[in-house]
Structures are given as C-alpha cells and as structure tokens.
C-alpha cells in the first residue's frame, strides 16, 4: 500500500480564512494510503519544507501531496524539497487550494469540502505516479547559420566569438545580402557598404567560421543538440583553391547582357561573374544557365584567359554532411517587383522602380555610379514621385501587414534625391508616417523641412505613361480629398517586403512553422521572439518579419546568445514530461499496430518509425517510437491513440483516470 504524506498549507490566512484546513488534514489523514497528514502556516517556508523532508525520511513516504497555492507557483520548490530528502521529485504533486479554491469562494462548508476533494484527487493521482528521471541529451557544440546577410553575418560572428564553431551557408556567390545593395542607411546616412564590408571580411577570416557560399541546405535531420545537416555545394565551375580572383576571365566573357541581380536588374553582368566588387569571397562562379559553353558546348574563352587553370567545366554539385547542435535561420526577405501592381502599370514602365532599384541608382557602386538617371533614356529626372505602402497594408493585395522599413527608406530616398538633384522636385505619397525608432522621426522631419520633400497624405490610384512622362493620379486626403495629378519623370514604389522565395520549402524541411505570408513563426510573439517551435532552431532578421538593420542585428545577437547558452552545457536536461510508446515482451513487442496516425498529429515530428527485427534480422513489425529530444509533451498523440499504446509521463492515462474517478465516487 502507498505511504503518502499530505501537507496542507494555511498560506498565512490566504487559505485558512475560508477553508477549514485542520479538517482537510484530518479527513485526508483517514484516506487509504495516506501515512501522514498535517497542516502548517507556511509550507513553502524553510521550516515548512523541513517538515516535508523529515516526514519523507521518518515515514518512508512514497508520495507527497502539498495542498497550497498553484503548482505554477511552487511545484518546483516542493519537488526540490522532496528530491533533497531522497524522494523522486516526480512523486510530488500539488493541490491548488488557494487560486482555485480559497481565493475564489466564500468561507463555507462547501469550500472546505471542495478543498478536500481537490486534495483527494491529487492523492489518487500520486498513487499512480512513477519515479521519473530528467532526460539528458548530448549537445554538439557547432552551429549552422543559414543565410549570409547582415543577420547571418552578425549571428555567425557572435557565436564564433564565444569560441564555438559556426558553419555559415549562403545561397548566392557572396555573403552580404540586401544590406550590401543599399546606398546609404537611415537615420545617419552612413554608407552601407562602408559599415558592412569589414564584417564580411571578418567572417571570411574568422578561425571559427566555415563559410560555404553558393550552397543551400538540402535537408536537416535530428533534434536539438543533435542535428545532421546535408548541404548542397552548387558547382561553381571555378577552383577556389587556385583562383587568384584576378578578374581577367570576367573581362573577357562574351556574354555580357545578363541582368545583374546585385543591381536589381538595372545593370548587367557576365556569365562568369563576381556579384559585386567587394564580394566575399571575391572569386567568380559560372552561371551555367547563361554560359555559352553550357548552353551550346563552345566558347571556353575564360579557360583560355585563366593563367592558373582554375576553370572546372565538369565540376558537379557536391553534398556534404555536417553535424550541428543548433541552427540559426537568417534567410532574410525579398521585395515585391513592380509587376505586382496593375494600377502602376504591371511593371511595363521602365521608369517605375522599386525601392531596392532606387538604392542601386543612388549607390556609388551602382550602374549609374550614384547619379539618379532614368533607366529608359538616362535623363536626370526633374520630378520624382515616391509611393510609400505599395502593396503593404493592403488586404486586397494579400499583404495586410506593414512592411515597417518603407517609411524610413522612402524619406531617405527623397533626401538623397534632393541632395543629388538640386533643382529636382520630389513628392512622397503616404498613408501614415511610421517613424518609431531612435532618431527616426527627426530624420523624416529633416526630409520634409530641410530638404523640402513634398509629403502628400493619400494613395495613388494609377500611374500611366503619356508622351514620355509618368502621369501619377492620386489624392490628397488632408486637403479635403482633392485630386492630385503629377507629371513625373520617375516613380519609385516602396514595394512590400515579403518572405524570401523558397522560405516555405525551407520551413517544411526544418519543420519550423510559418505564418500565412511564409515568414517563419517565432515560438512566442513576446517572450520567445528568436526561438522557433522546434527546439534548437532560432531566428534572426527579416525571415521572421520585415525589419530594419538595427533590429536585425539585435535579433541576430539574441539568437547567438540562445545558441551560446545551449552550448554552455555538455548535456541538455529536460523535463521528463514526454510521450512514450509501450514496449512489451515478444511476441507482442508493443500494443502499437503502426498505423502512424500519431505521426500526422504530432506538432513536433517527434514520432519515428521503429523497426522490430527478429534474431535473423528479418522485419517483424514497424511501430511508433517517440523521439524524446523532439517531444514537448503536449499529449495530443496520447488522446489520439486508439489502442492506448502511447502514454505521457506525468499525465498518464492511469493518473488522469484516477483523478476523474476520485472526484465523483460517492
């Protein structure tokens, strides 16, 4: 028979004022299986805990129930006390006599009776409790960072500086991301490349960082502390160990008219190319889709030019496997193209640009070397219109959210334009100006007041081309809804920031949840903004939602700290509240019949297929097995299992059944 100790707390007068605590202790003391029952003023105090510890030893208790406050408050306290007395902490349960009883009811017979019932319920539960051990998982102290934009760069450097190894994977031939494309940055107008490129170089030279550019994640298996990542190294067609990065091949390449991704389509590049002059690594790759040799089987001019013989025509994609303990997702974002906007011409007008394209025009390293010129005829635009909120905050376009960065960069664009074209006239159409951030509002005021940018509050209904001009038809809602028509030379759309292409597929590969717009979902919107629902995978930057550079860097450092904290222990200790599939002696092995309906129900992909094999190695059955590293203990599979083959520790079928039955037995 069980020997359970019951400890009823007065909580000063919090409980005893409405509940007859002495009667509770007395009646529970008479229950079958209860060896010891007392009440005391403050169970959580030092003397209170000592009562429990001593009783555990004195009566040889095999279960403890503390009738006190909410277990959400003091469960760890009392479990620790039990453990110190040598009792398995998971044999201690709490009955919530304060929040769920004394505080919500008046002093009465019924209140005391309810308290007795609540304690009884936990006594019946504890009778079915089993000693549990914390789950320990070894940790591989190496991190995988996916995406080499500013988020990935910052996260990699921060993790690497704590002394842990980092593997940084970048899809493009160079790291740098969108930040490398920007001209100047708000609100200080310092040059983006000037602050970014030193970091890029630092990544390349850091002894703890292994950089894979032109590579993509193929698959990720395993769980926190123990991931296995397969990475596809796309064939660069250039041997980087011998290539000196002299660039001669690039100059000789005859295919010169490929729209440059780095210049957002405004400039051109060759088929063998380095995306931009400050690229890291500063060595070329061959774009096989556009290369004459791969297209038609002839050319090879680059090979003839290369003095060190670095061109590798037959190089194939290579897949490597890396073992890592944590993953930081920093895959960034993308912006909608002008073709997304029927009302602004479906992308058919050359002088209607996206904000990103304008960045390239304004950048000293851009196709016009920083001069603002029209892509159509190269003329300097005398009248320019910026449309903030192009697509964003527009449910009809399927993008109801605010892209957050546009208000600021549009102010910056207008300012840069005014600085470069002194006699130019710029107009910004906006819905609201959202300039929340240090020195942000001041920056926007400067654009309006010092640089005389004309801010019009209202939307633009249509842009069309007539006689070489772009006719912008909008409305000024501050002046009684007056219609505004501007004959502009250039229109810049602050197009919505959207999830990067392929993010949905990547999320599915990693089993990370994502929102309806394919941005990765954080584990908790307030308290776990850098964690994902999959333990060991963290988020940094705009892959979670559009954000600016300081926020991205802050989040990346946050993710890095989470990784470092994970790596600070050799083993990961977890609560043993996890699901378990029963195992029995042969010939049954388990009551699980392997229908694997639990597999689709599990939010964490914790259900694995376990093959039961005979001595001769032949397959007898395939049953489910719970990966204890991945299981978070929700118990959805338990309620779903028809044959009751899965149970969850701490809330087993026997425990909850006993609880329910105890409540109404009379």
């Amino acid at each position: 028979m069980s020997k359970i100790g019951v400890f009823i707390c007065h909580c000063g007068e919090n409980i005893s004022a409405t509940v007859d605590v002495e009667r509770v202790a007395r009646e529970i003391g008479g229950m079958e299986g209860v060896a010891h029952a007392i009440d005391y003023k403050y169970m959580c105090s030092d003397p209170g805990q000592t009562f429990i510890k001593e009783a555990v030893k004195k009566y040889g208790l095999d279960g403890v129930v503390v009738g006190a406050c909410s277990p959400r408050m003091h469960e760890p306290t009392f479990r620790r006390a039990c453990a110190e007395a040598g009792l398995n902490p998971y044999l201690c349960e709490m009955a919530n006599l304060r929040e769920h009883c004394s505080w919500v009811h008046e002093k009465s017979e019924e209140t005391t009776e309810k308290a007795i019932d609540l304690v009884k319920m936990m006594v019946e539960k504890v009778k079915k409790n089993k000693p549990l051990d914390s789950i320990k998982v070894p940790v591989t102290k190496r991190a995988l960072v996916i995406g080499g934009g500013i988020a990935g760069i910052q996260a990699s450097l921060d993790i690497a500086n704590t002394g842990h190894k980092v593997i940084l994977v970048e899809r493009d031939p160079s790291i740098g991301g969108h930040m490398s494309q920007l001209s100047e940055t708000f609100p200080t107008l310092d040059c983006s490349q000037c602050i970014l490129t030193p970091r890029m170089v630092e990544v390349a030279q850091h002894p703890n960082i292994k950089l894979y550019t032109y590579a993509e994640l193929e698959s990720l298996e395993g769980f926190i502390g123990n991931f296995k990542a397969k990475i596809r190294l796309k064939a660069k067609s250039v041997n980087y160990s011998t290539c000196t990065g002299c660039g001669a091949c690039i100059q000789k390449c005859p295919v010169k008219k490929i729209p440059s991704e780095f210049n957002a389509g405004l400039g051109t590049r060759t088929a063998i190319y380095v995306p931009f002059p400050q690229a890291v690594p500063n060595k070329p790759v061959i774009d096989r889709v556009n290369c004459n040799y791969y297209k038609r089987g002839a050319c090879k001019i680059c090979e003839k030019t290369c003095q060190v013989g670095s061109i590798e025509w037959d190089k194939e994609d290579e897949i490597i496997t890396e073992e890592v303990g944590a993953v930081v997702l920093a895959t960034g974002f993308d912006v909608k193209g002008t073709d997304f906007f029927p009302e602004y011409g479906y992308g058919q007008y050359k002088d209607v640009l996206t904000g990103l394209q304008f960045e390239r025009l304004a950048s000293a390293s851009g196709p016009t070397f920083g001069e603002i010129r029209r892509p159509s005829d190269g003329a300097i635009p005398k009248k320019i219109v910026f449309i903030a909120c192009a697509g964003s905050r527009d449910p009809a376009k399927g993008i109801p959210y605010c892209s957050k960065i546009c208000c600021m960069y549009t102010a910056k664009h207008a300012m840069l334009y005014q600085h470069k074209v002194h006699d130019g006239e710029s107009t910004v159409f906006y819905m609201d100006i959202r300039a929340g951030g240090k020195n942000y509002e001041e920056f926007v005021r400067r654009a309006i007041e010092e640089d005389t940018v004309n801010y019009v509050r209202g939307r633009v209904a249509r842009v069309y081309e007539k006689n070489g001009k772009l006719i912008v038809k909008g409305v000024d809602t501050l002046l009684g809804g007056e219609q505004v028509e501007i004959e502009a030379d250039m229109v810049v759309l602050a197009t919505a920031g959207v999830a990067n292409c392929g993010s949905e597929q990547l999320a599915q590969k990693l089993h990370v949840s994502y929102d309806p717009y394919h941005f990765f979902a954080e584990a908790h919107p307030k308290l776990k903004p850098v964690e994902t629902n999959t333990a060991g995978i963290f988020l940094a930057g705009a892959c979670q939602a559009p954000k600016d550079i300081p926020e991205t860097v802050g989040m990346a450092s946050g993710a890095a700290v989470k990784v470092a904290a994970l790596f600070s222990n050799d083993e990961l200790v977890r609560e043993p509240v996890v699901a378990v599939v029963n195992r029995l002696a042969p010939p049954l092995y388990s009551t699980c019949v392997g229908c694997f309906m639990c597999e689709t129900a599990c939010p964490y992909n914790a259900i694995e297929h376990e093959e039961i094999k005979g001595r001769d190695g032949s397959l007898i059955r395939t049953i489910a097995r719970v990966n204890q590293g991945l299981c978070q203990g929700c118990g959805t599979c338990v309620a779903f299992c028809r044959s009751k083959s899965i149970d969850i520790q701490g809330y087993t079928n026997e425990q909850v059944y006993a609880e329910v039955m105890s409540l109404l037995n009379d």
């Binding site: 049954l588 019949v593 392997g594 129900a601 779903f640 044959s643 009751k644």
Partner: protein
Amino acid sequence: MKKLRDRAAELLSQGVVSLVIGYEEGTKRPRPLFCRNSEGAEKLIFDSHCFHNLAVYITKKELVGKERFAVTAPISTLRSIMQLYVENQLSEEKLLVITVDLSGELREFTTFDEIAAYVAQFELKRGEREQEILSKIEGMTREERWKFWMEEMSHCFKCYACRSACPLCYCSKCVVEVNRPQWINPWPAPLANMEWHINRAMHMVGRCTACGACGDACPVGIPVDLITRKMMEDLAPEFGYVPGQPAKQGNALSSWKLDDREQFIR
C-alpha cells in the same frame, strides 16, 4: 466467373501468389474461400451477392503469411483496402487485388493508386435499410434517440462480432482489453455497451468506409453500422474526406484546418 477461376488457378500454380482469398457458394449466401492451390480455385465465385468484406482477413498475419497473396474484392472491400493502405497496414509488394468490373471484365490492381482511381467512380449511397432506419432516427428528438439506442443497447451482450467483422479494427490490443485503467467495463450493461459503441464510432472518424460489415455481423441485429455511417456522412464533407478514397495527409482527426467550426465553443 470462368476467367476469374482460370486466373486464380494460374496465379497459384505459377506460384505468383500462395493464397487467393475469395468467395464460394454458402448455405444462404456466399462465404469466404481461402484457396491455396489451383483445384480450390474451381470453387471461386464472384457476383453481386458477394459483399462480405474480405479486407478483414488481409491484416491477419497468421492467415496470409509472409508470401504474396491475392484477394478478389468488391467495391466495399476495395475501399477498406485503400484505408488500410493509408494506415500503413498493407504493402503493394505483398498484395494482388482482383475485381470484376461492371462489364464483367476481370481487373487486376498492383498499385494502390490504380485502386483509388477505380474506386473513385463509385458513389457511396444509402441502401433501402439504411435510409429507412436513419430517416427514422433523424426524425427523433434527442430523448427519443437516447431511448432508441438504450433499447437497442440493452440487447448487446458484448460478443464483439462488430469488432471482428471490421477490417479497420486490427489493433492487437483493443481499448476494451486495456485494464490499467479499465476504460470500459467488460460486462454487458447498457452504459458499458453504449460507451463501447461511442468509442468505436470515435475510433472510426475519418476511417469508416461504410461497408456495413459490423451491422451485418451483429447476432442480435443492433444497427451498429448506422452509428459510424451517420457519423461519416455528417463529418466527411466537413473534414474534407471521401470514405474509401483516403488522402495521404493524415486522418480526419490527426489533421485540422484553421477555420474548423467552433460555434459550440464559448
């Protein structure tokens, strides 16, 4: 018929399969036949009276053994086979499925995709008996329904023929045999009977193919098949599944939609 017998004999004699599960003449209606050689195949029949769901046998390891076997399957059996496949209980390598189509031609399926495509042509409809009893139940008040079922359940003596006849009740240990805790009392009593049938219906959500085998098997004539049938009719459109044409993305209860109904949640 001749074609079926010849083909079965051929399969067995050539050793393509070691067993053919089919039908033979019985006293009142066709009964299952398990032929392991070409002589046995002579007894095979296949007509519209062959509706006994043979899928119930194909998960029995002691019966089908480790070698490849064949089953002659009318539509109801084909639907069950599809569901069993989704639940990882069958493999294409082990099972050869034969049916006779509406024009009397023999058809063999070696992949489950073929079966799914074939089954998709047949619509599941209520028969006369189902229509009669269900429309009666549908016209009742709640209290009348409770009385109706309690009366029916008072006849149940827990023989579990409904469970044995169902191809989808293949668990090695059924929940009624679980005794820690004893969820459902083992003795026949109206409440325990009721709990068993509610439990059976819950276990069939998104799975039942409405073959009617459970009701057919009941020795005291309780229309237990109508519980699952009505459940399936009510829920299938809402949860977006078609009985016997299961999608691979999981069972109706192990998946969900963001906009599932919740008016009943306060």
